[in-house]
Structure formats: C-alpha cells, structure tokens
C-alpha cells in the first residue's frame, strides 16, 4: 500500500482560548484513489475572497483518502467555466474528474458560488450548481459542494459538512485542570467551547437532529446528565440520581435517552423518556452494565457488561428483555456503536495487550481491528459510515484519529497543547 504523507497545517483561531493549532495529517491513503483536479475558482469581486472555496473543497476530498487531488503547479490551464476547458490537457495528466467554479459577491454580505464537475474522458458535465451563501457560511457551503462531488463520484453522501464534538483538558499553571466540551467543523475549523469546567465532563452525544448534545458533568461534585442546545446554550439537567449518571445515548427519534444509572446499587441500563420524564429499566444485573447504543431502527440496544466476568458487548430489545452476548473474540470489548446502516458495530477491543478500535460484522460475527495504537478508545462513526473517529494517545497527549471502515485510510488530528478525547461525529445537518 502506498503511503500518501501530506501534512496540512490548519491555522485556527481558537475562539475561547489560546489553544493554538489543530493539525490534520493523512497518514495513509487508498491505492487507486480517484484522480481529481479542483481548479482554483475565479473570484469576481474586489480584493481577496474571504475564504478560498476551491481550497476547502480540495482539502476535503484529499483528506477523505478516496481522491488523489492534483497540485496546482501541475495544472496546464486554469479554466473556471465549461467553455474554457480543454479536456485533452487533463487526460494528459491522467485526471478523471475536473471541478471548476466561480465565486462572486452578491447583494450585501452575500456570495454566489457556481461550480461544475466534469468527467474528463467523456467530456461531460456530471453535476453543477449555483449556490447563494453568506460570508459566515462560505466554508460550510464549500463543504457541501465537496459532499455533492463525493456523492456523485462514489455513490454515498459525503460527510464534510458535519461537525465533531470532543472533550479537551488542559492543566493550568495553578495545577487545576480545565475541561471543555467543544464542537468544531469536521475539518477542525471553527472550534467553539460550549461548556467549560474544572470538574470532569464526559460522554457527549449528539441528538439525531444535530441541535443538542447530551453529556455528563461532575460540576456538582458527582455525575449528572445534561442536555444542552448547541446553538442557544440553553441547557437542562436530565438526571442526577444517587451514584452514576452516565453514558447518555439518543434514540433515533430523538425522544428518549438510553443511559447507565447506578441508583439501585450498580450501573444498569435505563431508557429515559424526555417528554414524560419516565424511566424504564432495560438491562439489570449486579455486574457493570453501561455504554448503551441504539440500533438505527431503534428496536434494540447494545451495551457493555462484565456479567460474564470480563467486559463484552450484549444486545437487548430497547423495551427490555433477554440480553444476548454478541462479542466473543478477545477478552475485552466495550463502547460499541452501530454503523448508520446497522450492519457493523464499532467498538474498543483488547488485542495483544493493546486497546484498539475494531468493527464487528453483526451477521458474520467477524471482527476486524482497524486502529494501531495501544490506548485507543471512543469510536464514533461518520454519519455516512465511511470513517470512524476515535481517541488515541501520542506520547503523553490525547489526540484524535480517524480511520476508514475498511482500515485503508488513516488521519490524525491533534491540538498543540493539552489532551483531546471523546470525539463524536455529528449527524448530517437537517
């Protein structure tokens, strides 16, 4: 397998803190990635455009590992519209697909992005749109264009116009730890801190509409589950029972939270109805039962339990019933979640003394280890099922990494300072 080592240093202005830069490094790419040329879009306004739209699109496609993008220096021409394209120039570069476009100001504070995607060999347009947008949404619109290109060429929706929530912790000068719950675009841009605490924060979970996050906070000296509206900051304390209030997980319809509560003496799985505020016991055992995750159809939950002596994954109907063990390979399996199509489980497994991210096919039971670290945890599927983001360690620091579901594409994301952990990929924007 060929290694593509491209390092993109994305300079970010952290809103809240001086936390410095997030680095995204593509550590491994797919052989046979689709060669594509994203020609710099023309700018038809005064001065410099606020965002280099074609650069964002190019970086997205490249980062996915599914495309081999052509460096600008290799481009023989820089067409920005269909009539300017000489397809033979691009065939000579073995480019299969070509993206051209224009950005122009429109109205006050508005912009219009026009782009076209071509099949170089057929000399045909595959898709093309004119999209109005605004300055704050230029990057988001560029991600949407990358999504459209990805879907047209690969047949599955792109997940570039999504976000990632994650926890950071930084030890301050006075020895106190500052723990933040943050969200950022999937490419690491636009990070925002939405909760900041000196006590632990953990287990963020996106609501299915991507507008709320449930999480665990120890701000009152013990665990409680909160639900916070991402865009208004409004929040509500959902449960603060005696003992553990942990591992919140939204039902696919967004009406319920599965969670682990130890109010009856040890952690058991419950489903909490957000409207009626009623709690239903789903799995109960004197062992540790935790980390519930819903199947996409909402009919069942998987969870971690050490009822057999060691932590393993079990599956139970979401209304309760008999729990059945689903993992049998390796002595430690935990923190499972379903792929969007419901066919795979991503989980943490202990193999050869290392905690790694694996996927298990639910039909065949076959497990494939995907990550290469020794302390990897918290896997989370991209909403299109293509990648899994997870937490890893690099030296003493917590970093984020992502791997494609087939294990062939790898990325690493790191803050320059402090620990990053518990990444959770948002659903598609609705």
């Amino acid at each position: 397998m060929k290694k593509i080592s491209i390092v993109l240093f994305l300079s970010l202005a952290w809103l809240h803190t001086a936390l410095a830069d997030l680095t995204i490094e593509i550590t491994e790419g797919v052989e046979g990635a689709l060669p594509i040329a994203v020609v710099p879009f023309s700018w038809q306004g005064p001065g410099q455009p606020p965002v280099d739209v074609s650069d964002v699109i190019n970086a997205d496609l490249q980062r996915s590992g599914r495309f081999k993008t052509i460096p600008q220096v290799d481009m023989l021409a820089r067409p920005t519209a269909a009539e300017e394209i000489e397809f033979k120039d691009w065939r000579a570069l073995d480019v299969e697909n070509l993206v051209v476009g224009q950005v122009r100001p429109q109205g006050t504070g508005g912009y219009e992005i026009r782009f076209q995607l071509f099949d170089v060999y057929k000399g045909e347009q595959l898709t093309g749109y004119t999209i109005p947008t605004t300055a704050p949404n230029l990057r988001a619109t560029a991600h949407r264009i990358a999504d459209l290109i990805y879907e047209k060429l690969l047949g599955i929706p792109g997940a570039f116009a999504t976000r990632v929530a994650y926890i950071t912790s930084v030890r301050q000068g006075d020895g106190q730890e500052r723990i933040d719950l943050n969200i950022a675009d999937a490419d690491g841009y636009n990070p925002e801190t939405i909760v900041s605490s000196t006590e632990p924060l953990m287990s963020p979970a996106w609501s299915p509409d991507g507008r709320k996050l449930a999480y665990v906070s120890f701000e009152e000296g013990r665990s409680a589950i909160y639900v916070q509206e991402v865009y208004t900051g409004k929040r509500q304390k959902v449960t603060a029972y005696k003992g553990i209030n942990g591992a919140p997980a939204w039902s696919p319809d967004g009406r319920k939270l599965a969670m682990a509560l130890s109010k009856d003496g040890n952690p058991d799985i419950f489903v909490y109805d957000l409207a009626t505020r009623k709690l239903k016991s789903v799995a109960r055992h004197y062992a540790i039962d935790t980390e519930p995750a819903w199947s996409p159809d909402g009919r069942s939950l998987v969870f971690t339990s050490d009822r057999g002596g060691k932590p393993q994954i079990y599956r139970v109907p979401s209304y309760g019933g008999q729990a059945k063990r689903v993992t049998f390979q390796n002595s430690y399996n935990a923190r499972a979640s379903f792929s969007p199509d419901g066919k795979l489980l991503a989980l943490v497994t202990l193999e050869d003394g290392s905690y790694r991210i694996a996927v298990q096919d639910l039909d065949s039971g076959i497990m494939q280890v995907l990550s290469q670290g020794s302390l990897d945890e918290s896997p989370s599927f991209a909403p299109n099922g293509s990648m899994i983001i997870y937490a890893s360690k690099a030296g003493y620091r917590g970093v984020l990494a992502a791997v494609s579901v087939d294990g062939r594409v790898r990325q690493r994301l790191a803050l320059q300072e402090g620990d990053v952990r518990e990444p959770v990929w948002s659903p598609f924007k609705k």
Binding site: M202, R222, G246, A247, N266, Y396
Partner: protein
Amino acid sequence: MNKLLTLWVSLMFSVILLAGCSSTPSGDRQAGAEVSEQSTGGDGGDGSGASTSAASEGGVWQGDPLENPNSLLATRVIYFDYDQSTVRADYLDAISAHADYLAANPQMVVRLEGHADERGSREYNLGLGEHRANSVRSLMMAQGVADNQLVVVSYGEERAAAYEHNDEAWALNRRVELVY
C-alpha cells in the same frame, strides 16, 4: 483545596510505595505501604497544624485520631488490581480502622472516591471505580458504619493521580480515596 492536597499526598505516597517495591506491581507489600503511610501523614499534616515529629515512636497521640500519622487511619488511598474491585488483603486492616473510627463517630462522613486506570472505555471505568468504592463501603458497613456516613462517588479514569501511560502510573490510578 483539600482535594488537591489529598491528590498530592497520594502522589507522594505512590512515589514512596514504588521505591519500596520495585518489580512486582501486585502482591503483598505491607511493609512498603506502611513506610509510605507514615511519610504521607508527615506531608499531609501541615494543613491542620498537627506536627509529624510530635508523633515519635512509642509516644501517645493526643490529637484528633484522623491526624495521627502513625495510625492506620493515615491510610487514605486503597489500591486495586487491574479490572478488579476486590479489596486486597493488605488493606483490610486500614479499612477496618476507618470503620471503627466511623462507627465510634457517627457524626463523621467520609467520601469514597473510586477511580480506575485509563485503559479501556471511560464509562466502563466509571462503573469500575464505583464497584471499588462500593467494596470499601460494604466492608465498612459490615463493621457497623451507617449508610449515611458513606458517600460513594466514582470518577472513573477522569481524575488521574499519575499521568504516565505505564504500569506504575496505572497502579496508582486504580484506587479508592477516602476523603473526610
């Protein structure tokens, strides 16, 4: 502040514990633990004005028994084996001493803070930390300590006492802290 002190004290404890037993992470190392307890008391005593040197061997402790660095009550951190929540035999005496003290002082409340090392998943570790704290709680209740004197809180792996990623650090993080 108190918590920070406890953390720091437990760190000191660990450094000495490690010096005491170099190779085997588990096993009975009561001697090592006792050495560290004494010096822990010495380090931790300054906050309340209790002086370590006053408690010379053979002397009779006059102050608050909780402040006596030579007492078993000075053991405030109970360590556990990997993925285990059973209390090791070498800590039974210390837990028993705390239980006696609490039973005799029903107005006293102790927080049992359960912790886990960083390996494996975070929420499972939260459960593991709680199981550890509950093991200590059960032993104390069996000796007559009232339910309302014992507050169990699990932090899982969220509040490490040692930050390295190795066996020594993990051993220090698998613990229950007794916080009066």
